[in-house]
Symmetry: C2
Subunit: 380 residues, 2 copies
């Protein structure tokens, strides 16, 4: 497959109390449209990714709402698969283009999370868990802490390994003006921050964030001057929503399945990947991703990251955007932000955090504790 | 396009207090799988349509949940576009098959509405309206009543025209064992039932319903013995969510756009349609649908229905399932039920309500007050 990323747009990520969900979505979309060089009437469909606005603001049918705000007629819809909603909307848009339903599709991921009470947002996010997990009083820090504890017990992964993820991603975010937390932290700071759920401290967790990100995907493969970047693989896999129903807490099976499929579509191997954005909702998730995607062996993810291989300047930078941890995590916008970061790195638009010689990247977007995983391969 | 409807399944529609959303979804899906003759491991993706369960039960990521309940691995996702969610999920599944992503896709539409308090469900449904409509205190009966009042003022449509829709659809439902209200009503009963929102009486409105419906779509076009029925057109169009922002209250623009596109894809004209299921959430909506789809001229929908043309035995039966009015309206299941009804009529499976000589049908699914419309053409 070969689908052009014809334009991208992204808002500041953070606590954006002066902006509504609708204004964030429009801002990102209008930037993407401008970047694409298309007129609005050339965009035939609007795919919107959103998880929680139906619950927190009682606004559904967001596809039609955002499309009509933009003055775009044609098809529109909303996709939801918890934190993987953004990647999934892109996946569906690539299918629509391959099916020749549309030439140009706008995909917008947006979330407005910070102007909701903390217990309401915690409850809303647990919609991505199972009923039994909710009844047991589990939260997402708790679910990922179970995976972290298992990994530590089996493979000797330490809190310092976890902190290495956070320190690296904050370093990257310090060079990203769109990031929610654009500052560096030390290992000491990460380790000594308040414990939120053993073994996690505050700096092991991604934050609550407002933000939007948008891409224009196109079947137009003619080479423009700046935007020669393409999605060449796009795959989804799923697993049980209930963590307790899985065979293992040491891996996300859906990550393996989606990545194998996406790499095959693109005709590349994992060793060909120059850069990756992975779903570090908690630090352990980035360690699991390194292993499950095949960048290193199972159990060695902590050391792999601690060695600096995935730090900017290393052999294969990971989460140069700052990741969910430091760039922020407006749930359904995250999957789009990951793809935009890879596209920017390929096009040499990443500013201070530009990596060298980037031709092929991977974006890895996870829903819940791994029930949905979407993997995209992006190439020059 | 040509996509095979390889299997269908549908639960009873009604107040199903002994069943959960998950059990309803599984029941419909398992029936569809059995009907298709496929093994579960031949189904590569599960597309779930649902509007309100995230709000009323805080359960998101329904794609993965329902897929794992069924023991189906592979891709899964949830689609939402208010009451058009079901048609939209089918539309996306046809795209995925045309894109050659999957050979066999299970599409499930499911809703559990009756075990929620009446103010909570009314509020949840208004998620399909705009913020200004919610702030104005409007409900969906109110929104469609505005359209009905306009139609009456402009074209002389009467309450008897509205009642004719309800009487016909109850007649059809009386022959459908899956229907929520399988009984006939008289014009007198409809006209004298309590007024819920002028000009509507109780019998002008579709009910709150539990239920699920599922189809297996397939790229396998080999002719089996019983299931030779195909989707040959599938299109979506959208409009403003806010009714007040439209040019006219006398039509649904998105119905026109989606139907023109779907008919073109199928290579048929509106005169070739033998049967239709249209979105009669309120009686006026069926009148508008007759006109906007082009079965009759604008303003003549009421007479067109009152003449009996769309009653079983008439030239072009409409809503032989009983429609949303009498079969019931489990929001996201409705779009799938419509397609199943047409498929059953084509395959001669419609029992007591079987129409004669049915080869080509149209299914028309509307979200909110017309912000999203999905039209499918189904042929033998």
């Amino acid at each position: 497959m070969k689908i052009k990323i014809k334009g991208t747009g992204i808002t500041k990520f953070g606590e954006l109390w002066s902006q509504s969900l609708e204004s964030l979505a429009s801002d990102a979309a209008l930037d993407a449209i401008k970047d694409s060089g298309l007129e609005k009437n050339q965009i035939e469909a609007v795919y919107v990714a959103n998880m929680i606005y139906g619950k927190t603001a009682n606004q559904d049918q967001l596809g039609a709402l955002i499309a009509s705000n933009l003055g775009i007629k044609g098809a529109s819809l909303r996709v939801e698969a918890a934190c993987a909603s953004g990647g999934l909307a892109v996946h569906l848009a690539t299918q629509a283009i391959m099916a020749q339903s549309y030439k140009n599709v706008l995909v917008v991921g947006v979330e407005k999370m910070t102007d909701v009470g903390i217990s309401e947002i915690t409850s809303a996010l647990m919609g991505a868990g199972s009923e039994s997990e909710r009844k047991a009083g589990l939260t997402f820090p708790g679910l990922y802490a179970l995976m972290a504890k298992s990994h530590m017990a089996k493979y000797g992964t330490t809190k310092k390994h976890l902190a290495a993820v956070s320190v690296k991603n904050h370093y990257h975010a310090s060079m990203n003006e769109k990031a929610q937390f654009p500052f560096e932290i030390t290992e000491e700071k990460a380790l000594n921050s308040p414990e939120i759920c053993s073994p996690f401290t505050l700096f092991d967790a991604s934050p609550i964030t407002d933000g939007a990100a948008a891409v224009i995907l196109s079947s137009d493969l003619t080479s423009g001057s700046t935007n020669n970047v393409y999605i060449t693989g796009s795959a989804v896999a799923s697993d049980t929503v209930d963590l307790a129903a899985r065979d293992s807490l040491l891996e996300l099976r859906a990550t393996k399945e989606a990545s194998v499929k996406a790499l095959k579509q693109a005709g590349v191997e994992i060793k060909d990947i120059d850069i990756a954005e992975v779903h570090d909702c908690f630090t352990i998730a980035e360690i699991l991703a390194m292993e499950d995607l095949g960048f290193c062996k199972k159990g060695e993810g902590g050391d792999f990251i601690k060695k600096g291989i995935t730090r900017l300047g290393g052999k294969m930078p990971v989460n140069t955007s700052g990741g969910l941890k430091a760039c922020g995590h407006p749930v359904a916008a995250t999957g789009l932000k990951q793809i935009i970061e890879i596209a920017d790195q390929i096009r040499g638009r990443a500013g201070k955090r530009q990596a060298e010689g980037i031709n092929c990247g991977l974006a890895h977007n996870v829903g819940g504790s791994g029930a949905t995983v979407v993997v995209h391969i992006i190439q020059s």
